[in-house]
């Protein structure tokens, strides 16, 4: 019963939020630019959730999710350019990434802890270098151009993207939540807690890790698959190690092992990153004027975003090492208990 009530509430609130956003978009209160950030936040949340599944819940630190994002994005981009219908191209991108995750996971998941982190980091970089060097297929260093969008009219591509990305994100949230709150999910968490005991309780830890890693790759690939027609142009530089680290920061900030924490910090950090990017010039000028320099600014805030994220992490590790929510979840039923 509790599960049903949760599901109904989730579906109801998700639908309501979606409807409100749709109204705000169609009336122009959310402009095209904000919409673009909103979609980016949705995609970031999907990748961060996939990372949380393998790192937060299963306890296997992975540092190469930008690579999975890239494989999903490039696969779908190439399929779309080859005139494959949109839904098929998106599904194809996600499935190709899942297959890749399975193939990488097979040898890599025999490693523990730090070693897996290093291998996934390496794989992420290998993917990026391969993309640069497979010029005929991927456009190489100059990028993959002219990917067909969600809409034929480029002016309405962002609203069209929103109609795809948000339902997909809700679906991913629901599926990951369902996975975690099942016997399979309990087995995954038990691996994080104590591998030896988990094995001794009959859990096939290698099989479960591989499942978790493959599902994680599928979700990250799906986010990439939606990213390609959303942005229309893919460059390998956008899928570097720092991108992977950005997803790790989202997960750590929200709490390793908290879905709602990941969603909150995903939205927060996407907007923060965007604010740092667009306001960099203004801020650098005002900071510079504080120090008595002439307007025009000598401090560049764009690379400063990495410094700020680093600082946020350090502060977090000192005052709240388990992340904003730790392993807890914000539960809708709790929110509504008072109202009855």
């Amino acid at each position: 019963m509790r599960i049903l009530k949760n599901l109904a509430l989730l579906a109801g609130l998700g639908g309501a939020l979606f409807a409100v956003l749709l109204v705000l978009i169609s009336t122009g209160i959310i402009d095209d630019y904000s919409l673009q950030i909103l979609c980016t936040a949705g995609l970031n949340i999907m990748v961060a959730l996939s990372l949380n599944l393998i790192s937060g819940f299963t306890g296997q630190l992975a540092l190469g999710h930008a690579g999975f994002l890239a494989v999903g994005a490039y696969s779908t981009g190439i399929l779309l350019i080859a005139h494959v219908p949109l839904p098929l191209a998106i599904l194809g991108g996600a499935l190709i990434t899942a297959l890749l995750g399975f193939l990488i996971g097979f040898p890599a998941l025999r490693l523990r802890g730090d070693y897996l982190a290093i291998v996934t980091l390496g794989v992420g970089e290998i993917i990026r270098v391969l993309i640069i060097n497979l010029g005929d297929l991927t456009g190489g260093a100059s990028g993959l151009r002219n990917i067909p969008g969600f809409a034929h009219n480029i002016m309405v591509n962002n609203p069209a993207a929103f109609l795809w990305i948000f339902p997909a994100m809700f679906l991913v949230v629901a599926l990951v939540a369902n996975l975690i709150q099942s016997s399979q999910g309990r087995a995954l968490i038990s691996i994080r807690e104590d591998e030896v005991a988990s094995q001794a309780m009959g859990v096939n830890i290698f099989g479960m890790k591989l499942m978790s890693f493959t599902v994680s790759a599928f979700i990250a690939g799906l986010a990439g698959a939606l990213y390609a027609p959303f942005i229309g142009y893919l460059a390998p530089g956008g899928f570097d190690f720092l991108r992977s680290v950005f997803f790790v920061i989202i997960v750590v900030l929200g709490g390793m092992g908290s879905l709602t924490g990941t969603i909150l910090s995903g939205v927060g950090l996407t907007f923060l990153q965007e604010a740092l990017r667009t306001n960099a010039k203004d801020w650098s000028q005002s900071v510079a004027s504080l120090f008595g320099n002439a307007p025009g600014g000598t401090i560049d805030f764009v690379p400063m975003s990495q410094v700020l994220f680093g600082a946020i992490l350090v502060i977090l590790m000192i005052f709240r090492p388990e992340g904003l929510l730790g392993t807890k979840e914000l539960r809708l039923t709790k929110l509504f208990r008072g109202a009855k």
Partner: protein, 263 residues
Amino acid sequence: MTPLLSAKHLSIQFGGLRAVHDFNLDLSTGELVGLIGPNGAGKTTVFNMLTGVYEPTEGTIELDNGRGGVENIAGLPPHKITRRGLARTFQNIRLFKSMTVWENVAVARHFLVPYNLPQALLRLPPFGKAEADIRREIQDLLTIFKIDGKAEWRAANLPYGEQRKLEIVRALASKPSVLLLDEPAAGMNPQETLELMDLIRFVKDEYKLTVLLIEHDMNLVMGICERLVVLDYGRTIAAGLPAAIRANPVVIKAYLGEDAVHA
């Protein structure tokens, strides 16, 4: 009658160290056998070989497969051995600390769960029914062991004695035929040890189990074990009834040194 579990000529070598040498043990259904010996004798190593944590260098472990035959389980991975009916607890408690009490127990019956991953992801009907059954079954199990009131507690927050108890309950949830207890009374006071002895007897009779336990607490060992095997430096130095072991000069020497025998 053929034994339920039969370890034959088990040896394990770590580099130049032969930690266990030619270990033999037959366990018949319903027996309660104690494995004792001084620190470092290789008791836990024997457990780790029986449960698949270590692969024996030599020897076989034959388990009655319930269909009139035997299967050699030596070298199988731990989860496969557990699925064949050998469940264990650990010397240093290894609960899933941040999970709740009932979730800890639920992990041990994960491999018995009748629904698959797609059914769980899509919340199809088999899921709801199976989850309700799991909850009820675990609640019953927790009630028998009088920790049902703490089902939603985090395992790490249980008092020490109840953590030990929960490890036993968790092992039982995998529906084993053989239960291996690694120092179940470690860190318990005399009163708790007495309760534990009752608990072990109860579990053995209630679930028709065969129990092999490692223990240093001689009151417990002499009190409940029907048969003892004594290890020292990886070799079996004695085996037999508790009373005979207690009087065996070789055993006394292993525990207390040469002088004690002549004293």
